[in-house]
Symmetry: C2
Subunit: 333 residues, 2 copies
């Protein structure tokens, strides 16, 4: 008999197929092909093919020249425009505003053929510093209420360029999925006066069933009501609502665990396509006692987004207890 499990944060119910659980080998294997060597706007020498950089960590060279280690540029085809006022207006019975926002690309390495699991730990640490710096800079713009950071790896996950990169989108609104999570966490806090994420970390460390790995500062788990097979969360052990407040030792430790988690997935699931998302508190809020920033990683293991597109309902063919064990056992290549 399958189980219905409730996500304690959002209240969402998910079907977890427990009898005919899929093992990693049951999923369609579509390893992301190694990057080709074709000319790419993110390579050294092509700096003029992107908009001018807004941040770069360099060994040498001047602005928009080779010599950088990590480089952040506005997206050449942004989904939002950076200029102008929000200009909120009604349109008949509806509400709209100008699509004002920022859309930047964090180029994670000058090496075209590197994946995140292959990048040196130090390099990933610098990428995390770039996230922190860009968020800290953009949050000074009072038009923005939320800053999304995400990474799509592989065409199946929506990546259109293979050069290792992440994206940042600063929005004048708080997205619905974030709102659900923040509201759910606040309701828990109102009732219990504790952060629900801190409770989850304690519970998962105690039970151990869904624990993937941990370090001094981070816990990696698969959530109890995982929506997708091998959905994995990385949570800081110390309560902190905003990612951009992380200090240097935290970012160093995060680089290690993020790399280790991706490498485990690459090993257990044969270099899958995946989405990685940073969930952090809305930028206009001060430190929140009830929200806890974290990363979510969702490998794309089924040929299509699947059942939930059609039904509007999540069905997960693999209990997180089993998939967490696979990642635990994958070791650290």
């Amino acid at each position: 008999m399958p189980e219905l499990r409730k996500d304690p944060i959002t209240g969402r119910w998910v079907i977890i197929a427990t009898d005919r659980a899929k093992r990693p080998s049951d999923f369609i294997r579509q390893p992301v092909p190694p990057p080709s060597a074709r000319v790419c706007p993110f390579d050294y020498g092509n700096e003029h093919k992107t908009p001018p950089e807004v941040l770069a960590y360099r060994n040498g060279g001047g602005r928009d020249e080779p010599g950088w280690r990590v480089r952040v540029v506005p997206n050449k085809f942004p989904v939002l425009g950076i200029e102008g006022d929000l200009n909120r207006v009604g349109e008949g019975m509806y509400d709209k505003m100008a699509g004002v926002g920022a859309n930047e690309v964090i180029i994670e390495s000058p090496e075209h053929v590197m994946t995140m699991g292959e990048l040196p730990e130090k390099q990933i640490e610098e990428v995390l510093w770039a996230y922190k710096e860009r968020v800290s800079d953009l949050k000074r713009d009072h038009r923005f209420r939320y800053i999304l950071i995400f990474r799509n790896h592989g065409e199946a996950a929506g990546a259109s360029l293979e050069h290792p990169h992440s994206q940042l989108i600063a929005l004048p609104i708080v997205p619905q999925r974030v709102k659900e999570e923040v509201d759910g966490a606040r309701q828990f806090y109102d009732a219990k006066e504790r952060c629900i994420f801190c409770d989850i970390i304690r519970e998962e460390n105690r039970a151990g069933l869904r624990l993937v790995t941990e370090t001094e500062r981070f816990t990696v788990i698969q959530p109890y009501a995982a929506r997708f097979p091998f959905e994995t969360w990385i949570l800081p052990k110390r309560h902190e609502s905003h990612f951009e407040e992380s200090d240097a030792p935290t970012l160093a430790n995060l680089a290690w665990i993020l790399r280790a988690t991706i490498r485990k997935m690459d090993r257990a699931l044969e270099r899958p396509a995946y989405n990685l998302m940073l969930h952090s508190a809305p930028v206009r809020e001060t430190a929140l006692p009830y929200y806890h920033w974290h990363f979510e990683i969702i490998p794309k293991l089924t040929r299509v987004a699947g059942f939930e597109w059609g039904s509007g309902f999540y069905v997960n063919p693999t209990p997180p207890e089993e998939s967490a064990k696979f990642l635990r056992d994958a070791g650290l290549p």
Copy 2:
């Protein structure tokens, strides 16, 4: 400059790219291939390959024999089990219950190679009657709170069998996406004492910009804050919260408009893969003044689910005003 538009029902904001809007010809065309002639468990003579039928409309033949026009069977690989009690229990800090529910397949025609747009109108009308009958029967089971009906067409939309069919899932909970919609509609009603869907129908008929077509009893529109290119809704003009209460003339008129809408899409978008979902009120509720049943059709026009998987945020590259015009102009093949 793109626009941010707010869905008036759920409060969700969506980015609509208005400048570099994609035209239908800009999307990747991956027409669903015509069905092959391979042996299929839903064909005449293979009735023993499915679980015993729970409903059939027949020209002749006995139970589980050929001669049916529409046939409903339990899914051989159900996501939920029909037997047993809900058995709600806590598990540490979490909540779960047994995955009790029904998962049925509505086989829409004995013809393997038919698509919904090609089925005769009368045949679609019988499929709608089968929906109504199955929902009416299953709602008498007091364990069920919601009944989902959906249709995945084409592999890109999650269909694993090509024979024309829909699915039904009866759930002991109300899915999150439905809850969002019902809660939003209730809040509007609390403030205005009007159904928000009735307001939308009036507004769209008045403005005409996002109107695809209409009949005596139905309006077909593309919603103001469409999440996906060519997202299309079919709404009954008369307020009714539960689909299963529809009378015979309504189902006859619905068959016509559903077929016409699919045919317009097949023509304008070259037989795309799509998901069709019936949104109806939770089955334990009596007639609701604030909720309005409707169909939602989402063609799969991009190679991957795309941006929103990565970002947790919807970006629609085509304003509904433009895509609605394409469907209006597609005529009725």
